[in-house]
Symmetry: C2
Subunit: 441 residues, 2 copies
């Protein structure tokens, strides 16, 4: 498999070689897109999706087809949730301005958000994207520790700025991250044996030793606690704690990237780090925060922020603006009022169980991992049990033909990635399982 093929498989990308087989409206949009956006623009699916509306767990295409959305974690309280829509519609008509003036909604939001964090995490910075949040977190950690070194997992993705791409090995098509970034294998028995906690902690410590040998001091261990781009690794709960202890013993901080597991996704409280019994030094968040409105953030301790403010100004023009804050406040309210964390635990737990049962009858479905409504399902060669990214890509496109939207993750792209809106229902699960049973792969 060439590097290029691997990329296309991993991303489930439309390969763009021909538009002849596409519906006319899709073909026209594909061509317009190629003209305006060029080379970096990646579309999902062999037959790209032309979407026009969204409702709850459904995306509706131009031909009126309602697709079950098991992919999108951004609209996490549901596509076009009426509470979020109303909050945005109301606020955008009244005021939308930066935070160097006072206005109420950003404070209402910040207080409600900070109330979900344990002490001493009591200060918030609002940005626009998870990338900006992780970039800021790296700056906090490097200033606080005097170190440059960061430990991440082998297929980590933390965002797209210059500094954050360095700590995102999955973004490199060739080449490798620089010397101040060291990688450790994903937390799984296949890499560490039965003692994942001990093995992962030892790997982190070895990475710190290796960078120290090159004269690089550690600034941080940076982890997405659901290890999504690595292929979804959630268990056993608590395994991260030992690694966090090690990095702190060596003078580094623990940055929890909650862009994927945060806001109730794991079904075990609001934040993924809590499943591991740790309190991070810095927490970053993004994607589901405003249900699609661009808002992201960093929550940290006052002392780290003061240290930073002594050296640099920081202002984010759109960060926490009234419209973004209003959307984000509505999201928190909906999560609480609709019991979405409990729903993620219950429906996600049921779905994981059904998939594990199915895997016994269908050996191409391998290990099922995850927590709440973030699941990873290995697609494997039934004969050998080896990762089968080509089959995963076929399955994704077969599911798309059966009106179910899903993606892939992992270094080879062989892990089905399930992270629907948190309002997924039992009927939605039934629909998915029926579609899956119908797919030949």
């Amino acid at each position: 498999m060439t590097e290029k093929t691997q990329q296309i498989l991993a991303l489930n990308a439309f390969d763009g070689t021909s538009t002849a087989a596409l519906a006319p409206d899709v073909a026209v949009l594909v061509e317009r897109r190629r003209r305006s956006f060029g080379a970096t623009s990646v579309l999902f699916y062999e037959e790209p999706l032309h979407v026009v509306t969204g409702r709850g767990t459904r995306l509706i295409t131009a031909d009126g087809t309602a697709c079950l959305d098991l992919y999108n974690n951004v609209p996490s309280v549901g596509h076009c949730h009426p509470r979020v829509v109303a909050a945005v519609q109301d606020q955008v008509a009244r005021l939308n301005i930066h935070t160097r003036y006072l206005f109420d909604v950003v404070h209402d939001y910040a207080e409600k958000l900070l109330a979900t964090f344990p002490a001493p995490l009591d200060k918030a910075i609002f940005t626009c994207t998870g990338s900006e949040s992780n970039d800021f977190a790296l700056r906090l950690a490097r200033l606080a520790t005097g170190g440059m070194g960061v430990v991440v997992t082998e297929t980590a993705y933390h965002g797209n700025t210059t500094a954050v791409t360095e700590v995102s090995p999955s973004s490199y098509k060739h080449g490798r991250p620089p010397a101040h970034v060291r990688t450790v294998p994903a937390p799984h028995p296949s890499n560490y044996g039965a003692d994942v906690a001990g093995g992962f902690a030892a790997a982190v410590e070895a990475a710190i030793d290796a960078m120290a040998a090159d004269g690089i001091a550690v600034a941080a261990l940076l982890c997405d606690s659901i290890f999504s781009s690595d292929g979804v690794y959630a268990d056993p709960p608590g395994f991260l704690a030992a690694a966090v202890d090690r990095v702190r013993a060596r003078g580094g901080l623990f940055i929890a990237d909650e862009v994927q597991p945060g806001f109730g996704r794991t079904g075990a409280g609001m934040w993924g780090f809590a499943r591991h019994g740790v309190v991070p030094d810095v927490v970053t968040m993004g994607k589901p925060m405003g249900n699609g409105l661009p808002i992201a953030g960093v929550v940290t301790r006052a002392d780290l922020l003061e240290r930073f403010a002594g050296e640099f100004g920081y202002f984010n023009t759109f960060g926490g603006n009234p419209v973004a804050s209003a959307a984000a406040l509505a999201v928190l309210d909906v999560i609480a009022e609709e019991g979405l964390v409990a729903n993620a635990a219950r429906v996600g737990g049921r779905l994981a169980g059904e998939l594990r049962t199915l895997s016994k009858a269908r050996p191409a479905i391998g290990e099922v991992r995850g927590a709440g409504l973030y699941l990873g399902v290995d697609i494997v060669d039934p004969a050998t049990g080896a990762a089968d990214p080509a089959a995963a890509t076929r399955l994704i496109n077969q599911l798309r033909a059966r009106r179910v939207l899903i993606g892939a993750a992992g270094p080879l792209g062989h892990v089905l990635k399930i992270r629907s809106p948190l309002c997924l229902s039992d009927a939605d699960v039934d629909l998915f399982l029926e579609a899956l049973a119908d797919c030949p792969f």
Copy 2:
């Protein structure tokens, strides 16, 4: 003047030492803000503004006061413009999703935006902030040239990521940018004599020589063509061309940071670089693009993008999403239909003329610079003509008491910075001039 004082003056910041003199609603919000946001959070004015609504060129405070807004360039077609409000309200209720599916509005927008650019600038990348755009532009330039070096002006500000802070000397409270960033004085006769074009180009070339002597190859000259944070330097039109020629002759690119001058602000077409008769290699944009909805972008040539895509994946989850695209499309339509570029030229030109007339009668008002509705006005000691940042700060607060919002720029913060919404009227100018005449400084 201590460094700290300088910061507060430069930013026109509330110093936070006492809330006793503040209105009760303001005092409560200041205290809530301090608790949630801590040390990096800066508020404008000795008496911070508690805003509740915006309309056109007015921001309305909680006590019902309508303030004339000469500060905010983000709501550039006017606060809560009904066309933008309607576009957002409509789109947020229908669909808001990322660009790995096809939907129409982002293509309608991209085509209309790209039509405002000269060849060969025909590809767009959408991000969420000007910082992300400049960060991406630096990555494009460094990959294309193999160089790391960037030349910027002494008080440049280009954004807030790790990489972009390095090219933003104005963000450093102590210390200096790293060796691969070299600075040149702002383009003004006080730095270069009568031949600003030749002097500026020679300074850029000397900066390239100096980095080359340290083994650093040039990647780019990065300029905001209105030089806003340096103190607003626009003239003579065309002066940038010689510097752009020099950087290209040395293998570097020209990145035009249009976050401030773009979208008609200078009154001379849509883009500030056009005033200088140059075609950049990369153009970055942000702030006014969505009238407050977070959308920003990079426009460049296909070959630079292809080079980048060969090395790295790039995806921006919220970049160009339907709601942001709908807002941005409405902004372009309003600029065209309301003739806002011409309005910026005419009203900005009149305002500059009136201020120059006033400066003859009032020697504390020094040089008036700028283009369209981006003006810089030196506030000086009437006796010596020296920069007087303390007087500028007094004036800003006196204007605030007279219901006019304005800010400061420049290395010392002594330059009044005027960049109102583009729909500023003659009556608004009259109101400002009356208020200014009434201020004792």
